[in-house]
Amino acid sequence: MTRRPEEALAETLAAIARGMPVEAAIARYPEYADELRSLIQVATDAGLLRPGTVSPDAVRRSRARALSRAATLASTKPRGAFLAPAMRFAFAAVAVVVVLGVTGVGLNSAAADSLPGDPLYGVKLAAETLRLRFATAAESRLELEDLYAEQRIDEVMALLALGRKVPVSFEGEVRRVGPVLWDVAGVVVRLTSDTRILGEILPGMDIEVEGITQGDGTVLAHELHLHAYDTVGALKAIEAGSLTIDGADFAILAESHIEPGLAIGERVLARIGIEDSGARHVISVIRFAAPDPTATLAPPTPASTATPVASSTPEDDKSDDDKEDPEDRADETETSESEEDDDSDEDGSGDAEKLEFEGLVESISGSTWVVSGRSLAVTGDTEIRDSPSVGDTVKVVAFSRDGSWWAQRIELED
């Protein structure tokens, strides 16, 4: 069958691209041979207009421009976490002035806007320390510590937007881990072979980063230090100096916060601190109250493993109105189960649908894993075998519930 000339040209070019000698490719269309030969020469000439290698400097300049613009956009974002920096700065500035006024220390409020490397930055830190010392209520103190930790991140963001090179130290949640770049609380952290990594750090954990802000919008990390993480599990024991969640023991310190009335066997959410020695202690423990949505959908799993769960960000906060009533949820679960039994809901809406598949772990962000494009909720009951990480191929067993997939088992594929 005779092809049209444009099709003959396209197929000849494709054959050459696959490695077929030019004349052999042309010979397949003898009726167009001269025209094809001529146009292929023109195509070769057009290739002269290609640049050589793209300059790494050009890539770096463009990346810095993009990240800088992103930081600016983030600072003007009309909601959520990206509104918070400006407000937090303003709040901190007011707070410092009030505290300094109350305590009779008459320092300039300009210190509140200072950044690491600025002359007044030491004053700002001293004012924070002072305010923490005056915070008698434990919860106020914790809120302040959270506030100051977030403020350190805002300062790093500001330094990156300004392109300053300054030594910094900040704490934040590991959101994504890559071979070179990590996302720690929204800050791009660049690792080198000289970067010291202390502790077994996973996404969802809180770490301390020490490094230097760079002009390309990243922080060049000298040291990453595991600071704290959250875990969910069954409370197995609680004694004077220690607490056991599933099979793991954690020290209870004088400043540990334990929700009253916790019962043995109850599921709890705990924030665990890591000391330099590697010892782990309880920062706080609260009841993990609502029933697990998978509990009546999936068969019982082997003994639960204490599993790190995601740290939330302010933009994730939900109002009370948005929260689901645990009793309502339990009712829905029962309904779903009965529907599953009689198999009457053909469209599957509201039913638990089981899914088994293999896929690549694309990201792990605390309680949410993405496997081959599918988001999976991971709870304390999710059975995770062989510690898969991003980039691994895994076998997944999951159940659908309310339009979401809940992982029952995630297993590293051999």
């Binding site: 444009e6 099709e7 040209l9 396209a10 070019l13 494709a14 691209a17 146009l39 023109v42 195509a43 057009a46 002269l48 207009l49 640049p51 050589g52 793209v54 300059s55 050009a58 890539v59 300049r61 463009s62 990346r63 421009r65 993009a66 990240l67 992103a70 930081a71 956009l73 974002k77 919860e139 914790l142 770049l181 791009v188 919008g217 209870i252 004088a254 540990s256 916060h257 009253p260 959410l269 924030r271 920062i283 609260i286 609502a290 949505p293 995601a310 740290s311 939330s312 994730d316 906060d317 939900k318 948005d322 929260k323 689901e324 949820r329 990201s363 309680s367 309310d402 339009g403 979401s404």
Partner: protein, 202 residues
């Protein structure tokens, strides 16, 4: 040990989030990560697509500085559009190429408005071999001059096919055309370039 009636707001937020009915409503795809200005997603996507954007822009413009500027600006526009909710719904790469193509076309329109003659863009030679012979340089400049006489669509298809080395199908996807249209356009573009080269040679 402290028994505290209300616990750390942070840990309570973690619990509420873990127990919320739709914990998987978190951003997972590129588009939503861009919209949330996730710096890692931005950095990774940038490093992946910037060389392609630069090569495309250089192929069409012949000016490394302008190519870098427009490629970088296209990426910044992506961030702005994503944040404003006008960003790509599926392929950020397709969106970037479409935007860059319009920017290059706009640049040429401005250039033509300012000059009475469609002069080719200056061909500064970043990326070409330092030891490029005078003859090779003259040949490249002649191709550049001939290329500048093609229509934007013809330039586009050649830049994608022979600059980016995209397949016909990929080119069709990036240009928003079907494969047959791209094959025909490629054929006409090469014929037009041949004629222009013959004119330049005279």
């Amino acid at each position: 040990m402290i028994y505290c009636p209300t616990f750390t707001p942070r840990l309570a937020r973690v619990r509420d989030r873990a127990l919320s009915p739709s914990p998987m409503a978190r951003d997972t795809d590129d588009a939503s990560r861009l919209a949330s200005l996730d710096p890692i997603a931005i950095g990774l996507l940038h490093d992946q697509v910037f060389p392609e954007l630069y090569r495309y822009a250089f192929f069409r413009l012949g000016d490394p500085h302008l190519a870098e500027d427009l490629a970088a600006e296209a990426f910044v526009r992506l961030l702005e559009a994503a944040q404003a909710g006008r960003g790509p719904r599926s392929s950020a790469r397709g969106w970037l190429f479409g935007t860059l193509r319009h920017m290059v076309d706009d640049h040429f329109r401005d250039h033509y408005r300012r000059s009475s003659k469609a002069d080719p863009e200056p061909d500064r030679t970043e990326g070409s071999a330092p030891a490029e012979s005078l003859e090779a340089k003259e040949q490249r400049m002649m191709v550049r001059a001939a290329f500048s006489q093609l229509t934007p669509d013809q330039q586009d298809v050649l830049a994608l096919r022979f600059g980016e080395e995209c397949s016909v199908d990929e080119t069709a996807s990036l240009m928003g055309k079907n494969s047959n249209a791209v094959k025909a356009l490629q054929f006409r573009a090469l014929q037009a370039l041949r004629r222009a080269l013959e004119d330049e040679a005279q």
